[in-house]
Subunit: 391 residues, 4 copies
Amino acid sequence: VSDLFWPGDERADGLLDDAALLGALVAVEQAWLDALLEAGLAPASPTLTAVVEPADLAREAEAGGNPVIPLVRRLREQSSWVHRGLTSQDVVDTALMLCLGDVLERVEDELERQVSALAALADEHRGTVMAGRTLTQHAVPVTFGLKAAGWLTGVLDALEALAGVRLPAQLGGAAGTLSAVVEIAGSPEAALRLTAAAAERLGLEPDAPWHTSRRPVTAVGDALVACTDAWGRIATDVATLSRPEIGEVTEGAGGGSSTMPHKANPVLSVLLRRTALTTPPLAATLHTAAALAGDERPDGAWHAEWATLRDLGRRTAAAAGQATDLVTGLRVHADRMAATVAGADGDLTAERASIAAFLGRPAEDTPYLGAADLVVDRVLDRARSLEREIP
Amino acid sequence: VSDLFWPGDERADGLLDDAALLGALVAVEQAWLDALLEAGLAPASPTLTAVVEPADLAREAEAGGNPVIPLVRRLREQSSWVHRGLTSQDVVDTALMLCLGDVLERVEDELERQVSALAALADEHRGTVMAGRTLTQHAVPVTFGLKAAGWLTGVLDALEALAGVRLPAQLGGAAGTLSAVVEIAGSPEAALRLTAAAAERLGLEPDAPWHTSRRPVTAVGDALVACTDAWGRIATDVATLSRPEIGEVTEGAGGGSSTMPHKANPVLSVLLRRTALTTPPLAATLHTAAALAGDERPDGAWHAEWATLRDLGRRTAAAAGQATDLVTGLRVHADRMAATVAGADGDLTAERASIAAFLGRPAEDTPYLGAADLVVDRVLDRARSLEREIP
Amino acid sequence: VSDLFWPGDERADGLLDDAALLGALVAVEQAWLDALLEAGLAPASPTLTAVVEPADLAREAEAGGNPVIPLVRRLREQSSWVHRGLTSQDVVDTALMLCLGDVLERVEDELERQVSALAALADEHRGTVMAGRTLTQHAVPVTFGLKAAGWLTGVLDALEALAGVRLPAQLGGAAGTLSAVVEIAGSPEAALRLTAAAAERLGLEPDAPWHTSRRPVTAVGDALVACTDAWGRIATDVATLSRPEIGEVTEGAGGGSSTMPHKANPVLSVLLRRTALTTPPLAATLHTAAALAGDERPDGAWHAEWATLRDLGRRTAAAAGQATDLVTGLRVHADRMAATVAGADGDLTAERASIAAFLGRPAEDTPYLGAADLVVDRVLDRARSLEREIP
Amino acid sequence: VSDLFWPGDERADGLLDDAALLGALVAVEQAWLDALLEAGLAPASPTLTAVVEPADLAREAEAGGNPVIPLVRRLREQSSWVHRGLTSQDVVDTALMLCLGDVLERVEDELERQVSALAALADEHRGTVMAGRTLTQHAVPVTFGLKAAGWLTGVLDALEALAGVRLPAQLGGAAGTLSAVVEIAGSPEAALRLTAAAAERLGLEPDAPWHTSRRPVTAVGDALVACTDAWGRIATDVATLSRPEIGEVTEGAGGGSSTMPHKANPVLSVLLRRTALTTPPLAATLHTAAALAGDERPDGAWHAEWATLRDLGRRTAAAAGQATDLVTGLRVHADRMAATVAGADGDLTAERASIAAFLGRPAEDTPYLGAADLVVDRVLDRARSLEREIP
């Protein structure tokens, strides 16, 4: 898989692409067959194999509007019990949850690496004084440690957002009544046991059918955007601070130019900002689709989710690795930070003078850093509570 | 307050409007003054009063880009200690969290009413058979109880989403270091105690400064959209089912027409669908802003949040009441549902015949409802675990 | 009208607010009455007066889902012929087009002022050399005149986008057949003449009914966003260039701070960026609504347009004035630009050295400005072709 | 190319995919080489060949942030004159415009087919009476011819929107000054002649550099969404009207089910609605990016356009064919329409009775169709003025 339109896409290799979806669709049908066998309801079948190129299946998918119909036709050549009791949406929704599980795992791994790197930066640079900037102008001094702690806060928020995501199996039959499952299993209770067993085989949560209750989909979308928000904000800072006139940080390996030999562009930041600009509207699409999920399966809103989830998932996974590279490779130029502070005349301490005048006492001449150090401590404490590895 | 462009807006009276924001801004300044007094850092001041019309303050807000600057100028006529140690963003962010707290409370109240009403509908209509519909076409039979349980699932998901929202105070000073607070309080530790005390007075969580870590804002946006998603989906169903050719439900009080005397339009559903179409892009704006939150206060991204939160909050609050009216007033026409089922020939049981043929046995002639009843039970159990009042 | 959540909103006073909408609704009913009278179909009526507070009308609007129903009830007390032949959507859609016409006029006026100011800047600063910046890094030299010409290009594009907007009247009756109008007018031909006459009275284009063909709405939304795009890009440049480390431009009147006396924030740029971040999702909402405009009047998609158009229209109108202030007041610091260029060592001419090496000849030592001057000429020519006033 | 997440994607085969982009990138470099040769500035080179798999190029693209850098490195093995004078953005932007030209051509072809089909439907069904429906309820009668004319209006609007799109070449060099081109060409005038010649070779408009004036990009995005809006609205109508309880139209070939043998789903409508729900947020992303296009090349906003344009372009192209299939294959059930009208009792003529009562005369008993026929004529006239082929 490659994407000439999305540099860095190959970082998401194996995640939520055609092959991964096809594999997951087959895995869902297999888990269902296995659950039927285990319950003594179906005879043993050979292990299913996909036996179709994704491109061929994709071409066959338009007629019925989804890829499960042609896939089942092919898989039934391997076992007539394939898909008995299920509906297309069961298989697509459950397969997407499987694929999303892989995305979330990858993203969490990278976020944890970022927590370590940012915690180290925050701790190391507690005393690295730099100009605080608000509305682009100098405000009061901060430390680079505090800035790194702020970036870390976003990353921890993203980890918490992901931790709240549920990945339920969808096994409800044609209209969410498990009608055909009950025919096969013999009773409603047995039908629910069967779906729970299949969910367990797939490592997903059992759940009541959610064909038109799309919170599992919108929640994962929102959580993925919480990640790209966190990285977008870091990238925005790095892009600004690596401007030559500021020069306070540099990416570990700058990108070159097709024509200007001297350029060292903050490419990771550029690509992360790109990602963060495109993901919020994708998550919005998932919500709009959720609001339009009428009947027992809606007339378009469901179908709008698939590629949207794919794009959200792959872009977030690729950005996760880029963000790790960014924060682990970042070079911090304390000398340039100090020079900015020195060159700011009294601007960075104007507040201090003002408040001293109000309080009727002289302004001190110590570093004007307020509680920056304590705030760093507090964020590091939070990081430790989420991630054991933080020292 | 009124809004001729948004019928039903007055249901949100008192929530997140100009007067509410002004009140909250003053309340934040007051809580800060009180905390200073309590800590022995400032003398007693008279209780602050707003002393300005919102319209006048609004006009004065453009020069500095926010309403706190002109407000503080006026409030300092009442006490010179007003706002000492704080920055504009502290006051705006904290005031918005206060206002959002009122919105969330209102929305939660309405969601709880909806839980009761939908649980009752689900229970009452366990045996009310209707056609299940997928991709607009008849699928297998369902019950109206199951449909109500599905609606209830969305409402419970929304309640859970709201339960995860944090409302932190923002008290960090010009660049998030609490620099001026430390000057006043004497030490970083005392400064943090002071901000915690002020947060407690306001009923908000104390937190590390989050001027550019905007998860509190995006999380509340996402949760509000989870609400409008749930209602939009109910409204989509009601709009379809109240078509004259289907006629299976009717809103309690249909809306009239300016020209056609016979019309009874599903107005609440129409207005809820309207809301649900407009809110996801608003939440997306909050995410885009979060990703662009650079420096110690960003150059536009922060300002983009205010009206976006207002619109999201008020629209959700107004829709909350409309949704309660919709589900409590809904009239269910079991006879029309039965007639649809009767008129569907064998379509609704075609699946049963097909699976019976596969299993090599005759199809039964009992109602073909699968585990619908058990699924209803499961959703009602979940409702009870969230809301004690469910019988 | 004021908006404490949107500093600068008062610049849009009188545009697309409740009073303007109410006035336009009455104006549409009046024009219709007048057209009926002129055609000899109805007797003379007294001139209509609104006789209701917008707030009261807003409260009455929810029951039927739009404000026309209660308005007509009140206006019929003045003449029983009010609204005969029309439907609510006719009146709302036509009134919105009237209000949008006022917005477009205001915005075009401001854009023309900006054309003049930017053309002057482009011409004046043809020789003001500054660093070109790509991906935040120094590239090759440009001139500030070229930058101003680029800004001007965006403003001219916006003017062209607005010039393509049509403002049609909507006069189609309950389902777009002009059924009741034909009853009154006596024939289909007379009915169409009547609607054309009413449209002419309102200064709007006559058109076939477009109740569910929403291109007039989406087109105006797209054109308004083309404006905020153009200003957002200017504001992004100004925000960057007014950073203290760069200091190459300053806003005419910088905004102050609630706590830091030295601050001169680029407030207009901040507020313009704010606007530009919020408008694209609003225009997207109009498109989503257009795609869902089913039946002869849709069940929510139409209602979603009103406040969306209001917010888009007012925000664009307010931003129009802010953008004029920004470009007319901008202070350009040629000395700082020259200093940046001087301090860039060979970076800004590295490309020249590289191409000279390739061509096997020495790099010249003249200003390395390529065809910047000719490009400025070309943009000024385009400005002149659109706007006579450009010298 | 295939896309298992987007059934129907193969309809866009050859359009805006990796191979098409790679081909276009090489075509731009070739046209530039040819223009240099023609102007006597460079020696003859062998015809360029891509000599790289898109996947390999994609992998190499991340380091510099775009695919042109590694591509040029490879193409320079074929001629050292490749890319001399250009910058990466020149090549990417121009290549995207080339690819978009192919998309627009395809989409216009399909729209023209739809004009013919819809004009025929409108003409044929002038007398096919059906219920008009507003807010889901019966309003007054319409004809299916009028409905088809309304659909046609949307398609004509889309054609007009596309007709307004410009496809300019981007040839401006590193920072839009054509600096290196002037070095090669010898003078600014010669440089501009060279870029005009290269644009002409590519069939694109010459233009002043637009690296940060992104109207060409947002305009094409808006126009593509105007297309999906038009189809989404048709699909929304077809989905509703093909509900079994209404049954007034059927898609030519309904989609099957994985489990229910009787189903004939309106699959094309479902897939078109899917498309129309996902495209507006993509166009919004292009606008947000345009507003953030700072400096002489922005730090992420440019990169956000590529995949967004690809998705918008391919989805619109695929939907174009689906929409043609939908409107050419549609089966219209005049009998069911008549039955609905007959069953509506007096509802559909209640307005007529009401207006007759007001006018003090008896209501006629003729078909109550107002000026429907004249409106159809007017839309057909417009179709003829845009498309000669309409009879």
